[in-house]
């Protein structure tokens, strides 16, 4: 009889877990839908922004302020202070999503002596701060942002902070490490250079460099550039944030989906076992009764 109760308990606990995984699956799928819609709504804005940067670069006078384009080549590669913005999830339960990002970050960090980490998301922050306490890493502890529901406001703050650090010479290169959704089933960790800006970034083909007629910059080219750069950074960071968020939800969706499926498989096996055990118990009882009755007749 003990066996039957054990199986019943397991069936119950699997049922409870399945309810959770199924709920998480539904939540991620609705979040994913919303995030995709948001991304589609902002797409025209950033396409135009990119286009405008490109057209301004091609029409700008020669003496324009290019301090965000300064590659700082005088600094040797091993002395460069490199900042990484790392986007992870706020919680686990999403397959290899966090693991991939952390692995890529560690790979990239190994190439430089001075790496500064700006980690978004609880999972990554926990992981890197544990290593930072051991004195191996430099993690900005003030940099606390969630990766849930990316907003432009948040990316503006981050862009400001990065530009300031770049201006003050605290950072020479800034990269963002995020997860790119290649298709609706495949995603992979990616690294993208934010600063210094690269003029070639904006030019897709050589033909586009040809100078248009000069345009007037009001009030002055420098002020316009100074205004556009943070805007552009903000757009890039926002794009990466939304992309990561979509991938995270997608990863969680598929992880939870397979969890639910295997829970169902287990339930099927267990209920078969349970029925067999019940059948065996009944058969045994009948045998006992029959043999009891037989002996009473004698």
């Amino acid at each position: 009889m003990g066996n039957m109760r054990e199986i019943r308990d397991r069936i119950k606990s699997i049922n409870d877990i399945m309810k959770i995984t199924n709920a998480m699956y539904l939540i991620s799928s609705s979040k994913l839908k919303k995030a995709k819609k948001d991304l589609a709504a902002t797409q025209p804005y950033f396409n135009k922004l990119l286009y405008a940067m490109r057209s301004i670069l091609s029409r700008a006078p020669e003496d324009i302020d290019m301090r965000y384009f300064d590659q700082r080549e005088e600094i040797k590669p091993e002395d460069r202070k490199v900042g990484y913005i790392v986007i992870t999830a706020d919680k686990g339960m999403c397959g290899s999503y966090n693991h991939n990002i952390i692995k890529l970050t560690e790979q990239k960090m190994a190439a430089h002596k001075q790496s500064h980490l700006y980690v978004m998301g609880q999972v990554g922050r926990m992981y890197f701060q544990r290593r930072a306490r051991a004195g191996e890493l430099d993690v900005d502890t003030e940099f606390i942002y969630t990766t849930q529901n990316p907003t432009l406001y948040r990316s503006r703050r981050i862009a400001e902070q990065m530009l300031k650090a770049f201006d003050e010479g605290k950072l020479d290169d800034v990269y963002i490490i995020y997860t790119d959704m290649v298709s609706s089933i495949a995603f992979e960790p990616k690294i993208l250079q934010l600063l210094p800006l690269d003029a070639e970034h904006f030019v897709q083909s050589k033909g586009e460099i040809t100078k248009h007629h000069e345009a007037v910059f009001s009030p002055s080219p420098n002020i316009v550039m100074e205004h556009l750069t943070p805007n552009f950074m903000k757009g890039m960071i926002y794009g990466a944030m939304v992309d990561s968020f979509c991938s995270e939800q997608q990863a969680r969706m598929s992880a939870m989906d397979s969890a639910t499926t295997s829970a169902k498989d287990m339930l099927q096996d267990l209920s078969l076992q349970y029925n067999r055990a019940r059948q065996a118990a009944i058969t045994q009882e009948i045998t006992e009764i029959v043999s009891g009755a037989n002996s009473a007749e004698l």
Binding site: P44, A52, F217, S218, P219, I223, V224, N231
Partner: protein, 138 residues
């Protein structure tokens, strides 16, 4: 017709207006700037304020926060962080935001925070102004 130009107004969260327009007026750092068809090529910054454009003889108004504009002879592109119609503005929310920003300005804070509060106050006041001005007329 030659007296219109292609106007594209894009907010960061949605395309706001795409189509032909006869005139456009928007705020810049040096004051209001009006654009007619055939304007010289120009790139400029848009500061928070009221934007209006003339389509078929009728003025349309909108509140715009920071952004920038690119002007060409027959094409104008306006990009803004947030662009809203007067009737979309939640006056109560804007008033609360203004209150909050004013309160924050009173505290001692870093220069960065000061600028943030000031910018927030600016945005809120601008929304309030535009929603007041236009929702009265209805």
């Amino acid at each position: 017709m030659a007296n219109t130009f292609q106007l594209e107004i894009l907010a960061s969260d949605r395309p706001f207006y795409v189509g032909a327009a006869e005139q456009l007026v928007f705020p810049t750092v040096d004051g209001l700037m009006g654009i007619l068809p055939g304007h010289e090529s120009m790139v400029t910054i848009v500061s928070p304020g009221e934007l209006k454009y003339l389509v078929d003889g009728e003025w349309h108004y909108a509140a715009i926060s920071e952004g920038f504009a690119e002007v060409r002879r027959d094409y104008v592109l306006v990009l803004g962080d947030a662009i809203e119609l007067p009737e979309e503005i939640d006056a109560k929310r804007a008033a609360e935001a203004a209150e909050r920003a004013k309160e924050r300005l009173l505290h001692k804070q870093s220069i960065m925070q000061y600028y943030h509060s000031q910018a927030a106050l600016n945005r809120a006041m601008n929304r309030l102004k535009i929603s007041k001005r236009h929702n009265h007329e209805i």
